[in-house]
C-alpha cells in the first residue's frame, strides 16, 4: 500500500471526523436557538410579553376574582384555589397554597381580600412575586384575568 494513499485516506478520515463535529454543532445551534415557528415557542407563549399576559377573561374586568387557577407548569394546570380570607402561597407545608417548585420560596407571597377587592403582596421572597409581568411592590390590586408568577408557577385570578 503506497504511503501517499494512506496519507490521503487519513486526511479524509480526519475531514469526516470534523464533518461529524460540524453536524453536532449545527444540532446544538438548532437546540439553543429554536426557530420562531418551532413548536416549543409557539405553543407555550413566553408569559413575559405583556400582550399575551392579558387573558381572554380580562373582559370581566372590574368584578372581584373568586379563585386562583394554575396556568403553568402544564403538569398542574387547571388546579383551582378558592379565594377568601388570607391565602399564603409558598413551598412550606403550612401555606394555604403549597407550590413545591423550583424558585419558589418557603413562604412566598400572600393574597388577601379587603373592602371587596383582592390584593397580592410579596412576603420577601427570593425571586419576587410578579403581577402581569411587573414585580409586585407592596400590596397590588388584582382583577379577574390578572396573572401572578411565583417562581416558575403562573396563576390566574378568575
Amino acid at each position: 500500500m503506497p504511503e501517499q494513499l494512506l496519507t490521503v485516506l487519513k486526511l479524509c478520515l480526519l475531514a469526516l471526523l470534523y464533518l461529524f463535529f460540524l453536524r453536532v454543532l449545527r444540532a446544538v445551534w438548532a437546540e439553543v436557538t429554536p426557530p420562531k415557528a418551532a413548536a416549543e415557542s409557539a405553543v407555550v407563549p413566553p408569559p413575559s410579553k405583556p400582550p399575551k399576559i392579558k387573558s381572554v377573561r380580562a373582559s370581566k374586568k372590574g368584578s372581584v376574582p373568586t379563585k386562583l387557577t394554575v396556568v403553568e407548569p402544564i403538569a398542574r394546570a387547571g388546579a383551582d384555589f378558592p379565594l377568601g380570607g388570607d391565602l399564603t402561597l409558598g413551598r412550606a407545608p403550612g401555606c394555604s397554597v403549597v407550590l413545591d417548585e423550583q424558585y419558589v420560596s418557603q413562604v412566598h407571597s400572600r393574597v388577601f381580600q379587603r373592602d371587596n377587592s383582592v390584593f397580592v403582596e410579596d412576603l420577601g421572597s427570593t425571586n419576587g412575586t410578579w403581577l402581569n409581568g411587573v414585580r409586585a411592590v407592596g400590596q397590588m390590586h388584582a382583577r379577574p384575568g390578572d396573572r401572578i408568577q411565583i417562581g416558575n408557577v403562573i396563576l390566574e385570578f378568575r
Binding site: 446544538v28 418557603q106 410578579w130 414585580r135
Partner: protein, 446 residues
C-alpha cells in the same frame, strides 16, 4: 383554555422528540462511518490489508448503535440527541486503538461494550422517572460507600499495580469505585436538594466567620470523608481528586455560594500539601511530572515516552496503525490519549477533546433546562464526573499536571469504567427526557 394548551403541548413534545431522534440517528450513522473507516485504515496501516473480520465488525457496531438508538426512541424519545452519538464515537475510536494495540484486549473490550449498551438499555427501562432515585438517596449513599470499601475486603479485594481498587468475583475482576461515583453523585444531589436552603444561609458562628449550621453538613461530610479516606488509602489519587471536585462543584451549584469554591480550593491545597509531605508515592508523582528526564528509563519512562508520542504525531499524525506501539506501559488504559495523538496527530486528539467538550455542554444544557432541582443537580454532578475525569487523565498524559491513573471515559480499555459510563449516560438521557416532557418554561422572575 388549559385543555387545548395541554393537547398542543403534547404535540410540541412529539415534534421535539421526532426532531431530536432524527438528529441522533443521522449523527450515529456518521459516527459509525468514522469508526469503520478508522478501523479499516488502522488495519491497512498495520498489515497493509483490509481486516479479515471487517464484515462482523461492521455488523456488530451497527447492531449496538441501532439497539441503543431504538431503545432511546422507545423509552426516552424526548431526550437529548447529542450524547449518544458522542459517546458512540469515543467508544468506537477507543476500540479501534485498543484493537490496534492488543488483540486480546480488543475482544474483551467488545464484550464490555455490549455489556455497557445492555446496562444503558436496562437503566433507561428501569428508571422511568429520575425522581425515584431521589427517594432512595440515603440507600445510594450507603451503596456508594460500601462499593468503595469492597476492595479492602480480604478475600474479594485485589491489589493490582499498587492500587487496591479491584474486586474479583470468580473470573471477573471489576473496579467498584467506578459505580460508587455514580451512587454518591445521586446521594449528593438528593441530599443537597433537600437541604439547599439550609446550607446557603450562615447561621452558625465560628470565631470571626459565619458558616452554615454544621449539623446539616454532617451526613454529607461523613460520606465524603469516608470516600476520600478510602481512596487515598487505596492509593487511587485520581479518583480521590475527581470525587473532591464533584463534591465542591455540586455544593456550589446547589447553594449558589462561591464561598464553597474558595473553601474547596483552600482544602485542596492543604490536602495536597499534606499528601505530598506524608506519602512517598505522591512525591514521586510530582517529581516525575516536573522533570521526567532525570530518570527517563525508570520512573519517568511512561511520561517521557508519552511526550515523544505526542511530538512524533505532529499535526496530522503518523496515520492509524503506523505509530510505534508497545512502548508505553498502560497504553490501552491510561495512555490511550497519547496513542491517539501519535497516530491522528493534533487534529485527531483535538477531536477527542472536542467530543468531551460537547458532552459537557450537552450535560450542562440538560441541567439548565431541568425544572426539577434534584434532576438538575444530578445532571451537573454526572457531567462533572465525565468532564473532570477526562481532564485529569488527559492533563496527566500531556504533562499539564501530575499523572494519576484513571480511565479516559468511553475511550480507555476497562470494563467497569465503560459499563459505569454507559449507566451515567442513560441517567443523563433520562433527566433530559423528563425535562423536555414538562415543556421547559422560560423562567421570568429570577
Amino acid at each position: 383554555m388549559t385543555v387545548p394548551t395541554r393537547a398542543a403541548s403534547k404535540d410540541a413534545v412529539a415534534l421535539v422528540s421526532g426532531r431530536r431522534r432524527t438528529t441522533e440517528l443521522g449523527l450515529l450513522i456518521l459516527a459509525f462511518i468514522v469508526i469503520v473507516g478508522l478501523y479499516a485504515l488502522a488495519s491497512l496501516g498495520r498489515n497493509a490489508s483490509v481486516p479479515a473480520n471487517i464484515g462482523p465488525f461492521l455488523a456488530a457496531v451497527l447492531a449496538l448503535v441501532l439497539v441503543a438508538h431504538l431503545v432511546v426512541r422507545k423509552v426516552a424519545p424526548a431526550a437529548d440527541a447529542l450524547l449518544l452519538p458522542l459517546a458512540a464515537l469515543l467508544n468506537g475510536m477507543g476500540y479501534v486503538f485498543i484493537a490496534r494495540l492488543n488483540d486480546d484486549l480488543a475482544g474483551l473490550q467488545a464484550a464490555w461494550t455490549a455489556a455497557g449498551i445492555t446496562c444503558f438499555v436496562l437503566t433507561l427501562v428501569l428508571v422511568k422517572d429520575i425522581k425515584v432515585l431521589q427517594r432512595y438517596r440515603y440507600t445510594f449513599g450507603l451503596i456508594g460507600v460500601l462499593l468503595l470499601l469492597m476492595p479492602l475486603l480480604p478475600v474479594l479485594g485485589n491489589e493490582i499495580n499498587g492500587s487496591r481498587i479491584w474486586v474479583s468475583l470468580g473470573p471477573i475482576g471489576f473496579q467498584p469505585g467506578e459505580f460508587a461515583k455514580i451512587a454518591l453523585a445521586i446521594f449528593f444531589a438528593g441530599y443537597l436538594q433537600e437541604n439547599r436552603e439550609l446550607l446557603s444561609v450562615a447561621t452558625f458562628r465560628l470565631g470571626p466567620f459565619s458558616i452554615p449550621d454544621p449539623k446539616h453538613f454532617a451526613p454529607i461530610l461523613l460520606a465524603w470523608g469516608v470516600a476520600l479516606a478510602v481512596m487515598i488509602f487505596q492509593r487511587d489519587l485520581g479518583s480521590a481528586l475527581l470525587f473532591f471536585v464533584l463534591f465542591v462543584v455540586m455544593l456550589w451549584v446547589a447553594t449558589g455560594r462561591a464561598a464553597y469554591l474558595v473553601a474547596g480550593v483552600i482544602l485542596f491545597a492543604t490536602g495536597a500539601a499534606l499528601a505530598y509531605s506524608q506519602f512517598s508515592h505522591v512525591q514521586q508523582r510530582v517529581e516525575v511530572w516536573l522533570d521526567p528526564w532525570t530518570d527517563p528509563q525508570g520512573v519517568g519512562y511512561q511520561i517521557v515516552q508519552s511526550v515523544y508520542a505526542l511530538s512524533w504525531g505532529g499535526v496530522v499524525g503518523t496515520g492509524p496503525g503506523l505509530g510505534i506501539s508497545g512502548r508505553i506501559p498502560f497504553e490501552e488504559t491510561d495512555f490511550i490519549f497519547a496513542i491517539i495523538a501519535e497516530e491522528l496527530g493534533l487534529l485527531g486528539s483535538t477531536a477527542v477533546l472536542c467530543t468531551f467538550l460537547l458532552m459537557v455542554g450537552s450535560g450542562l444544557r440538560i441541567a439548565r433546562r431541568c425544572s426539577d432541582g434534584f434532576g438538575s443537580l444530578l445532571a451537573v454532578g454526572l457531567t462533572t464526573l465525565i468532564g473532570v475525569q477526562a481532564f485529569i487523565i488527559v492533563g496527566g498524559v500531556i504533562r499539564l499536571m501530575p499523572l494519576t491513573g484513571i480511565t479516559l471515559p468511553f475511550v480507555s480499555y476497562g470494563g467497569s469504567s465503560l459499563v459505569a459510563n454507559y449507566v451515567l449516560l442513560a441517567l443523563l438521557l433520562r433527566i433530559s427526557d423528563g425535562a423536555s416532557r414538562r415543556v421547559p418554561q422560560p423562567v421570568l422572575a429570577r
